[in-house]
C-alpha cells in the first residue's frame, strides 16, 4: 500500500519517455503509456486488497475522527525553509511534506481513473490510428492521467494544486490536439482560461488555509475547522473559494461554457475528460474537503444551488442540441450539477456513487459516440439530424450505447438508476421542497435527452450520412463491451450483499456508514418519470406517433433562448467586449503612459540625456585631462593648506 505513489509515477515517467523516444519505440510509444496505466491499475488492485486488509493497528493507518473513515497516510519531507533549531522557534520554519492519503474515496476514485484511462488508451489505439502526432497524443494522455492520479492521492493542498494545474494544462493540450484547425484551438484556449478563473479562487482558498492553519496538510486543515480554530467566517470564505475552483473544473454554472466546446478534441479525450479526469476533479475536491464545507451551512447551500441551476439548465440545453457530442457534453454538465447538488444536500456517499456510475456510463457513451463517428467517417461533429438508424450497420455499438443511455437515463436495475435515486433521497431529506421538484424535473429531462439521442441515432429512420457506416474494430468494441458491463452492473455494489461486504455506503462514507436506502415513493416516481421519458421519446422519434412540431412552435421564444444556451456565451462575449476591453484599454494606456514612459523609459531617458550633456567634457584631448589633473592638484594643495592653518 505504501507503494501506491507509484501509480501516478508510472505514467509520469511514461510521458517524457514517449516524447523523447517515440521514434524508436514500436507503436510510437503507445505501448509505454498503456503499460504504465496498466501497471497503475494493477497497483491499484494490490493497494485495494492491502487497504481492505488494513486495520487501525497498522502504524500508517488510523480511523480519522473527522471523516470517520479508515485513512492511511504516507508522507515524506518535501522541503524545509527557514532553519529549524536556529530560527527563534521550530514553528518559524516552513516545513512541507508531500505524501499520499489513502482512504475509501481515494480507492474508488483511483479505480475509476485507472480503469477508464486504460480503456480509453486501448480504444485510442484504433481511433487515433494514423494520426501524425500519435506519439504525442499518448504522451499527453499519460501526463493527464498521472496528474489526475496525483490529484486523487495528494495529502496536502499544495500538491493537489500542482496536480490540479497539470490537469488543466493537459486538458488544454489534448482539447487543442488538432491545433491545425481553429475550432480545437479556440476550445482549448477557452477551457484553459475559464478553468483558470476558478483556479484563482482555489489558489486564494489554499493560501487562506495556509494563513489560518499554517500548513497545507489536509488533515491539519480539517482538524482546524473541526476544533473551531478556524473561525466560521473564514471557513465559509475558504469553502466558497475552494468551490470556485471546483466549479471551474467541474463545469458548473457559470463556468460551464468550456466543457461543451471541449468536444473539439479527439473523442477519446472527451471520454477521459468527462468520465475520469478533468471534470470529476471539482467534485472530488468538494468531496475531499467536505469537512470544510460541512462546517459551513452557507457554503453547502451555495453548492446545492449552483448544482441545481447547472443540472436543470444543462439538461434543457441537452434536450434541444443537435450534435451528439454536444448532447453528451451538456449531459455531463447536468450530472455534475446533480453531484454538486447531492454534496450540498449532505449526500456525500450518493455523490461519490453517482460520480462512479456516471463515469462508467459517460465513458461508454463518449466512446460509443466516437465509434459512431469512426463508423460514419465523421471527424468532428455528428449531427443527429443527419445520422439515424445505425442499429443495423453498427449493432454492437448500438447495444452498448443504449445501455449507457438507459443507465444514465435512470432506467431501473442499471447503475445510473441506483445512484440517481440516492441523490434524490438525500435532496428530499435535506433541502427545501423546490429542490426535489427541480431534481425530478432534471431526472425526467435527463432520461428524455438520452432517449432522444439514442433513438434518433440508432433506431430512427436512416439518415443521409449513414450509408457507408460500418462497425468499429474489435479493439474499440471490446472496450465498449467491458464498460457496458460496468454500466449495467456497477450499481449493484450499492446493496448489502450477503457476505463480508456491506454495500458501497459502508465502505465509502462521510462521518457515518450508510446503508442502502430505497424510498418506495421516490423510487416509484423516479421509475415512472424515467420510463415515461423513454416511452415518450420512442413514440416521438421511432414510431412518429406524435409530432412535437406544434409544441415547438408554441414554445418558440423559450426554445430560442434554450437553443442559444441561455446566452451565456453571448453574455461573456459582451462582458469581454464592453467591460474588460474598456478596462484593459485604460490599463494599457496607464501602462504605456505611466509605467512604460515614466517608470521604465523615464530613468533611461534621464540617464541618456544626462549622458548627452555630460559627455561634452570628454573632449578626447589629452591636455584637457591634464588640465583637470593640475586643477585637482591645486585644489588639494589649497585644501590641505587651509586645514593646516
Amino acid at each position: 500500500m505504501a507503494l501506491a505513489f507509484l501509480i501516478p509515477i508510472l505514467s509520469f515517467v511514461a510521458c517524457p519517455l514517449i516524447i523523447l523516444f517515440q521514434r524508436w519505440i514500436p507503436g510510437r510509444g503507445a505501448p509505454v503509456a498503456i503499460l504504465a496505466i496498466l501497471g497503475g491499475f494493477v497497483l491499484w488492485a494490490l493497494m485495494t486488497i492491502g487497504f481492505l486488509g488494513a486495520s487501525p493497528a497498522d502504524p500508517a493507518c488510523a480511523v480519522s475522527d473527522i471523516t470517520g473513515a479508515l485513512t492511511c497516510h504516507f508522507s515524506t519531507t518535501w522541503f524545509q525553509a527557514g532553519i529549524p533549531g536556529v530560527a527563534a522557534s521550530v514553528d518559524d520554519a516552513i516545513h512541507l511534506d508531500w505524501g499520499i492519503l489513502i482512504d475509501p474515496l481515494t480507492i474508488v476514485l483511483l479505480g475509476l481513473i485507472t480503469f477508464v484511462a486504460l480503456g480509453v488508451q486501448i480504444y485510442s489505439l484504433e481511433y487515433m490510428k494514423g494520426d501524425p502526432r500519435f506519439g504525442w497524443y499518448y504522451a499527453w494522455q499519460a501526463l493527464f492521467v498521472a496528474a489526475m492520479l496525483t490529484l486523487a492521492l495528494a495529502d496536502n493542498f499544495l500538491l493537489l494544486y500542482i496536480a490540479w494545474e497539470l490537469v488543466g494544462l493537459c486538458s488544454y493540450l489534448l482539447i487543442g490536439f488538432w491545433f491545425e484547425n481553429p475550432g480545437p484551438r479556440e476550445a482549448a484556449k477557452k477551457a484553459f482560461v475559464v478553468t483558470r478563473i476558478g483556479d484563482v479562487g482555489l489558489l486564494v482558498g489554499i493560501l487562506l488555509i495556509w494563513l489560518n492553519v499554517g500548513s497545507f496538510s489536509m488533515t491539519d486543515a480539517f482538524a482546524a475547522v473541526e476544533s473551531g480554530a478556524m473561525g466560521s467566517g473564514t471557513t465559509t470564505a475558504v469553502a466558497i473559494l475552494l468551490l470556485l475552483g471546483a466549479m471551474g473544473k467541474s463545469a458548473q454554472f457559470p463556468f460551464h461554457v468550456w466543457l461543451p466546446d471541449a468536444m473539439e478534441g479527439p473523442t477519446p479525450v472527451s471520454a477521459l475528460i468527462h468520465a475520469a479526469t478533468m471534470v470529476i476533479a471539482g467534485v472530488y475536491l468538494v468531496a475531499r474537503a467536505f469537512p470544510i464545507f460541512s462546517a459551513s451551512p452557507e457554503a453547502l447551500m451555495v453548492i446545492a444551488s449552483v448544482g441545481m441551476v447547472t443540472a436543470l439548465g444543462a439538461a434543457t440545453i441537452a434536450l434541444v442540441s443537435t450534435d451528439l457530442k454536444r448532447i453528451l457534453a451538456y449531459s455531463t454538465v447536468s450530472h455534475l450539477g446533480l453531484m454538486m447538488l447531492s454534496l450540498g444536500a449532505l449526500g456525500w456517499t450518493a455523490a461519490v456513487f453517482h460520480l462512479m456510475a456516471h463515469g462508467f456510463a459517460k465513458a461508454l457513451l463518449f466512446l460509443g459516440a466516437g465509434s459512431v463517428m469512426h463508423g460514419v467517417g465523421a471527424h468532428g461533429d455528428v449531427d443527429i439530424r443527419r445520422v439515424g438508424g445505425l442499429r443495423k450497420a453498427m449493432p454492437l455499438t448500438a447495444v452498448v450505447f443504449s445501455i449507457g443511455a438507459l443507465s444514465l437515463g435512470g432506467i431501473p436495475i442499471l447503475s445510473g438508476f441506483w445512484s440517481k435515486d440516492e441523490i434524490l433521497l438525500a435532496v428530499s431529506h435535506e433541502l427545501p421542497v423546490i429542490f426535489i421538484v427541480l431534481a425530478f424535473a432534471t431526472a425526467f429531462l435527463s432520461a428524455l435527452y438520452m432517449a432522444r439521442a439514442m433513438f434518433i441515432v440508432f433506431f430512427g429512420p436512416e439518415g443521409e450520412d449513414t450509408h457507408h457506416a460500418h462497425e468499429s474494430p474489435l479493439l474499440m468494441t471490446g472496450v465498449l463491451s467491458v464498460l457496458a458491463v460496468l454500466a449495467v452492473g456497477f450499481g449493484w455494489i450499492a446493496f448489502n450483499w450477503p457476505g463480508s461486504f456491506g454495500g458501497f455506503g459502508s465502505f465509502v462514507y462521510y462521518d457515518h456508514a450508510e446503508g442502502f436506502h430505497f424510498n418506495v415513493l421516490l423510487g416509484a416516481l423516479s421509475i415512472v418519470l424515467a420510463v415515461g421519458a423513454f416511452a415518450l421519446a420512442w413514440l416521438v422519434y421511432v414510431r412518429r406517433a406524435w409530432s412535437h412540431k406544434s409544441l415547438r412552435a408554441r414554445l418558440a421564444p423559450v426554445l430560442r433562448v434554450v437553443e442559444r444556451r441561455y446566452y451565456v456565451d453571448e453574455t461573456y462575449q459582451w462582458f469581454i467586449d464592453r467591460i474588460i476591453l474598456t478596462v484593459s484599454a485604460a490599463l494599457a494606456f496607464f501602462d504605456r503612459a505611466v509605467v512604460n514612459d515614466v517608470g521604465i523609459n523615464g530613468p533611461g531617458d534621464v540617464v541618456r540625456k544626462a549622458g548627452v550633456a555630460l559627455r561634452l567634457h570628454v573632449t578626447g584631448h589629452v591636455y584637457s585631462y591634464a588640465l583637470v589633473v593640475a586643477l585637482g592638484v591645486i585644489a588639494l594643495a589649497v585644501f590641505w593648506w587651509l586645514r593646516s592653518v
Partner: protein, 106 residues
C-alpha cells in the same frame, strides 16, 4: 651665500613653465619636452634640499642626490618610451598632433 629659498623658487618657476607647456602644447614631442622641464624642476628642489640639509641630521648624506639620480633614470626610460610611442603614433595615424589622437572621445 644664496639662500635655499632661491633655489626652491627657481624650481617652482621651472615647474610652472613645464606645466604650462604640457597643458598648452599640441605637439606630442613638445609635451614630452615640457615634462622633462617639470622633472628637472623636481630635481633642483631635491638636490637643493639635500645640500642644505646635509648637516642637520634630518637626512643621511646624499639621499636627495640619489633620489635625483633615480628621477633621471626614470626620466631617461620615460623619454625612450614616449618617443617610441610617438613614432608608432606617427606611423599609424600620420600625425603627432594630440588633437587628432582622440579615440577615447565621445
Amino acid at each position: 651665500m644664496v639662500p635655499l629659498l632661491y633655489f626652491q623658487l627657481l624650481g617652482a618657476a621651472l615647474f610652472g613653465i613645464g606645466l604650462y607647456g604640457v597643458l598648452a602644447r599640441r605637439s606630442a614631442v613638445l609635451i614630452v619636452l615640457s615634462i622633462e622641464l617639470m622633472l628637472n624642476a623636481v630635481n633642483i628642489n631635491l638636490i637643493s634640499a639635500a645640500s642644505y640639509l646635509n648637516g642637520t641630521g634630518r637626512f643621511e648624506a646624499f639621499d636627495g642626490q640619489i633620489i635625483a639620480i633615480f628621477v633621471i633614470t626614470v626620466a631617461a626610460a620615460e623619454v625612450g618610451l614616449a618617443f617610441a610611442i610617438i613614432l608608432r603614433m606617427y606611423r599609424n595615424r600620420g600625425t603627432v598632433n594630440v588633437d587628432e589622437i582622440n579615440l577615447l572621445k565621445w
